[in-house]
Symmetry: C2
Subunit: 466 residues, 2 copies
């Protein structure tokens, strides 16, 4: 790889996207140097292309001059997927943000990667349609980034994640060829499933230029319950029981005591200060169906846990919106506790959540750390935030130790290191803990097959020394 | 590739699986020579291994002596995936048919490939659980074969296909290594999605030895409607409208006039003989929800199509079972019309079903053929059966012409050549019509990466000359 781009390259890049769409001034580059990890790496240049053909040219230049190319969604990623860790050219999709088509008859949408997820959802709502994946960052994250990381969200417990809604792609390969994958029909089994190979590949196998999305009818109604527990194990223990009872919530979120505390001020009716944990549970569907499920859920709670928890149903949309605002604010609000955090999104089989949460509590005690747990309990995807001050060497070292121990414990529970954030740079050294040697070797050979010169997002997923 | 296996190889194969589990007598081999295409190719030997380790040894021998290995589920495939077209060793999984685990708390099952899909479903039902994919052959097809072909079924309109329910695999690679993919949690985004790359790869990339399945709670109730139409376009036109209206049937099957005729005798209350088409529509869920959906559906039908169709709700389970028996018998019953058939399972966006069906009618007229259409209208997956007598040269040639024209038309409607049967040998020459050159090249390079000696199921998906 070249150290710094020289003027010849910069000129060729300018010719490709137009001078006004190639950024090189340090103050401009700084805007594309960071992501939600809090880390920052300066790229050599930032291109804002307008078409797949322009991206082909950019990649051809990258292969000729051997500079890294880093595709960047909205920079809301949690694991460094969009960071230009080896400098090079960042590609930004803010000009490729068109909703090309919404085909309501066939419940399909075709979009460009720069479309903001929440904005697409608003557009679809107008037509009685839904694109379910709902990462906490939905107001600013982009569909392209969601696809690259296989983003999830609270609705995954009922509706699944990004990979369940992308049925076809237009991709520019690292070598510059434009390729189509998948279908624009509900079913399709023609040739190998390249679409799913790209989803979650964290920008290392290709650059998405069009995405074909499967949509659902918008549910008629939704209702929100809040359960406050005075006992943590009873909260976490209830999760698997709710789902085993045949109830099918569209949200089953969990917040521990500390997570509740950091967002307490945002709530008009804050929970009792001795609250050990909250569950946020929602049901959607036809109005009658929602009522039926609500009745069943209320009866279920009364039967199972009446002593240790109180159940409240949100009175109206304002209260629901407030609860969600609080839930989505947990991650940024944690920084009021400590200046830095190690943020993980491990998954365990949901019956093992109590063990996981008990383990993190024990770990916090042993290593003298603040560790929060919250997240998508319904699918076992628990966000573990290990709070540290990086300037406090001992605390930071303990945080890193806690992360290693957490991962080992999660794997011992038949869990996985990441449910929706991906590996990026922050977890790459731990990849061999989960992925066996044969699979790791196949994955690396796949990367080489698609990207022989390793120009696309180098250093992600697979650490150089792996 | 070797022409015929010599005694040295046979002895080594016997040593691997045990003499009693290696078949070589012609009358035994004949049992594993065919599939549902009606074609037959004699293998050199059939092995019935009992473990992944034995399969490793078989594949190591195949690489050493260069003989083809053909993994075979239950032989119910429609496109030749299990046919030993170049002879070699057929691997059969009837001894690897254990349900290893049903984890009701986490709604996950771990099974071996030889488990019969319908038998698994019966076991799960006892625990209030459901594995949704329901190919017509569910009473005899196996999970391993379903995974290899990415089988679908009527329930796909609501629940999706096999790929939506397999979250992890144990696979023996063509080179003999045993590898794990995926997770046993609801979510997981660690490394590339190898699981989905294997699903639908038609036994060309690896041999499944364990499958981790995601389950759902068994719906409390289900109801069945039968709609008889005197007008074909009104039947096909209603499909997209039903789904656009926000109704969410778990079945939306369609049968044209000829399909109805071939199974008419099986019905206690056969439809009027002037029936132009039938729709079979089902709703499932909580009892109240099913009633609500039934009411909405009845109102919808009355509002939209009261003149050209009649609506009947199945009185009881016996009537429902009879309707399903008839529906599942269509494919074999067609052979009463002509001794052979060209059976396709194309998919179009569902709003384009009327165009597709009109086209096949026109084609039948032009080429003087019987062409039936039936199948999973809800997801646009229409089974087109072109009936021919192979001994009638002109008719067979016309059948082949009809297939080519059908494929071209389907692609012009943004459709795909196969929704659930795969490519196998019967459609491989048409693959380049749908898959672009770049994608085809990537797929072939993937095949070589996994199987450098091309010993696993050679000649499938990619025709040798492609």
């Amino acid at each position: 790889m070249i150290a710094v781009m020289d003027n010849t390259i910069i000129k060729e890049l300018q010719q490709c996207v137009g001078k006004e769409h190639l950024l090189t001034a340090p103050e401009e580059l700084a805007c594309y140097s960071f992501d939600s990890t809090g880390q920052s790496f300066m790229p050599d240049a930032v291109a804002l292309p307008d078409s797949a053909e322009q991206i082909t040219t950019l990649l051809e230049l990258a292969n000729r001059y051997r500079f890294p190319v880093i595709p960047r969604g909205a920079g809301s990623g949690m694991t460094g997927g969009a960071l230009p860790i080896k400098a090079g050219l960042v590609i930004v999709f803010s000009r490729m943000n068109r909703i090309i088509e919404i085909d309501a008859d066939n419940m399909i949408a075709v979009v460009e990667p720069g479309v903001i997820t929440g904005e697409l959802q608003e557009e679809l709502k107008k037509q009685g349609l839904m694109y379910p994946p709902d990462p906490a960052s939905l107001k600013f994250c982009s569909i392209g980034g969601n696809a690259a990381e296989c983003a999830g969200g609270p609705s995954a417990v009922k509706y699944g994640v990004t990979r369940d809604y992308i049925i076809g792609l237009e991709v520019v390969l690292p070598t510059g060829e434009i390729m189509k994958t998948g279908v624009r029909t509900e079913k399709g089994v023609v040739g190998y499933d390249l679409t799913h190979l790209f989803i979650g590949s964290e920008g290392t196998l290709g650059i998405f230029t069009k995405l074909i999305l499967r949509l659902l009818p918008l549910p008629e109604s939704k209702t929100t319950f809040l359960l406050s527990f005075s006992s943590l194990p009873q909260a976490t223990g209830l999760v698997a029981e709710i789902l085993s009872a045949g109830l099918m919530p569209c949200t089953l979120e969990y917040m521990d005591k500390t997570a509740v505390q950091v967002v307490r001020d945002q709530l008009a009716a804050p929970p009792h200060k001795d609250t050990a944990a909250l569950l946020l549970v929602e049901f959607d569907g036809f109005r009658e169906d929602v009522e039926k499920q609500s009745e069943q859920f209320t009866a279920f709670v009364q039967q199972h846990k009446q002593k240790s928890c109180s159940l409240r149903r949100a009175a109206d949309e304002t209260e629901t919106a407030e609860l969600w605002q609080a839930r989505r604010s947990i991650s940024p609000a944690t920084l009021s506790l400590r200046p830095n955090k190690i943020s993980e999104d491990v998954v365990v089989p949901r019956s093992k959540i109590p063990e996981l949460v008990a383990f993190t509590d024990q770990l916090a005690g042993e290593l003298d750390l603040i560790i929060l747990t919250f997240g998508h309990a319904g699918d076992g995807n628990i966000h573990v935030n290990i709070m540290v001050d990086k300037n406090n060497e001992q605390e930071y070292a303990n945080g890193i130790r806690a992360k290693q121990k957490l991962f080992e414990f999660v794997l011992s529970l038949d869990g996985t290191l990441s449910g929706e954030h991906g590996i990026g740079t922050t977890k790459s050294e731990f990849l061999p803990l989960e992925i066996d040697r044969t699979a790791l070797s196949i994955m690396k050979r796949l990367k080489t097959l698609f990207d022989p010169n390793n120009i696309l997002n180098p250093g992600k997923i697979f650490p150089d020394r792996n």
